[in-house]
Symmetry: C2
Subunit: 231 residues, 2 copies
């Protein structure tokens, strides 16, 4: 057990032979050919997780939203998408062969109900509303499609982080959730982050560190929990 | 006149001694701490224009929306902003001392009527609408604040480009407008672009080329038109 923990924390083969699917980045939902609804995810946390998983020996598929980041070292495959619907399709397409899914993408909850094919023009003085529709729940669909995969979710919140994350862990039947508070130089668009990990019956605080260092610690814990769940 | 035209097209000092204010990039309008309405402008056309103006001898101030681009060579000052309101403030603040303003930014026409201080949560099944408000018209406010500046606007359209651009030229009292069709590998998020220039009583087609090459031709024409207007 000590050897396992050390192997995990140093990343030498803790995920060898496993296929890991990671989603990362924001999703952008088009309003018209030029405008969209986006979110502030930079993709850096998810890319760091993909790199840490590859460095732990996993065969990694990375599904990336619209980001301008080079592919992490050692990953097997990268699929670039834009909208939540495209991310869902790419994730579900790759899910059948995944042992572990780590959903680090900040998938937009809403999209415009209609997408205009022409650029919308200013209408002088008229009240303007944008009708929204709810996006599919990728984690939920994935859990149904791949009941045997080890599922890790992320929760990025501005308030009540712990309560929301633990609720999401239970509600979605996840094996682990990584929660962080966004804002104040942490989380989205920042180099550093701090994560609270929760799993059924336990948890771990990962204090402020670079996203790369946090990703290595997260992957070590995922490897350990995966082995426990499967043993 | 031939000498002037050649000097302009080779960029050697055609704008020497002039102060040029350039806006570039998109604007992002926050919905809540994580979500925003954005547009697809990469900022590359405006950054190329700022660089071409500096290389033509101008003292250049660049007001940039949220982009991940290094500052162009030779510019005097760069102000980074996010929203249309912030861009308006930065542009108007720098406008008093500008001889020429080139508005290459894709300023969002709309913003959410309210900005939520907490991340909005999914409300199950409830119909969702986002109320929008119209953003200020920066070019119009600038024309009022700096009646003597030479004003160059941009128009990025998916349809009826020429008609819309010429209408905007007249309606806003611009000295020149650079119009382009977005989509099909041109314009936003693309390396190449093609511009149609219009000024009162004339115009010029700049066929498909790199944004850098187009920016040099645009600046040469701006210098020529500026000298004609001021002579």
């Amino acid at each position: 057990e000590l050897r396992d923990a050390l192997a995990g924390s140093f990343g030498d083969g803790a995920l060898a032979g496993l296929r890991v699917l990671v989603s990362a980045g924001p999703t952008y939902e088009d309003i018209d050919p030029v405008r969209f609804i986006g979110n502030r995810s930079s993709g850096r946390m998810g890319f760091a997780v993909a790199e840490a998983a590859a460095s732990a020996g996993a065969q990694v598929t990375l599904v990336a939203g619209p980001v301008s980041l080079p592919s992490p070292a050692g990953i097997a495959r990268r699929l670039d998408v834009r909208s939540a619907a495209q991310m869902r399709e790419a994730v579900l397409g790759a899910a059948a062969s995944a042992d572990i899914y780590i959903g680090a993408a900040a998938v937009g909850d809403y999209r415009p109900a209609q997408v205009a094919s022409r650029k919308l023009k200013k209408r002088d003085g008229a009240p303007l509303v944008l009708d929204l529709a709810e996006n599919p729940d990728i984690l939920k669909d994935l859990a149904a499609a791949s009941p045997h995969a080890f599922l890790v979710g992320f929760a990025a919140e501005t308030h009540d982080v712990a309560a929301y994350a633990q609720d999401k862990l239970a509600r979605k039947g996840l094996d682990m959730i990584a929660a962080n508070r966004v804002g104040e130089g942490l989380g989205f668009e920042a180099d550093d982050n701090a994560l609270s990990l929760y799993w059924p019956g336990g948890g771990e605080e990962l204090p402020r560190a670079s996203k790369r260092a946090l990703a290595a610690r997260l992957i070590a814990r995922v490897a350990e929990r995966y082995r426990m769940a499967r043993s």
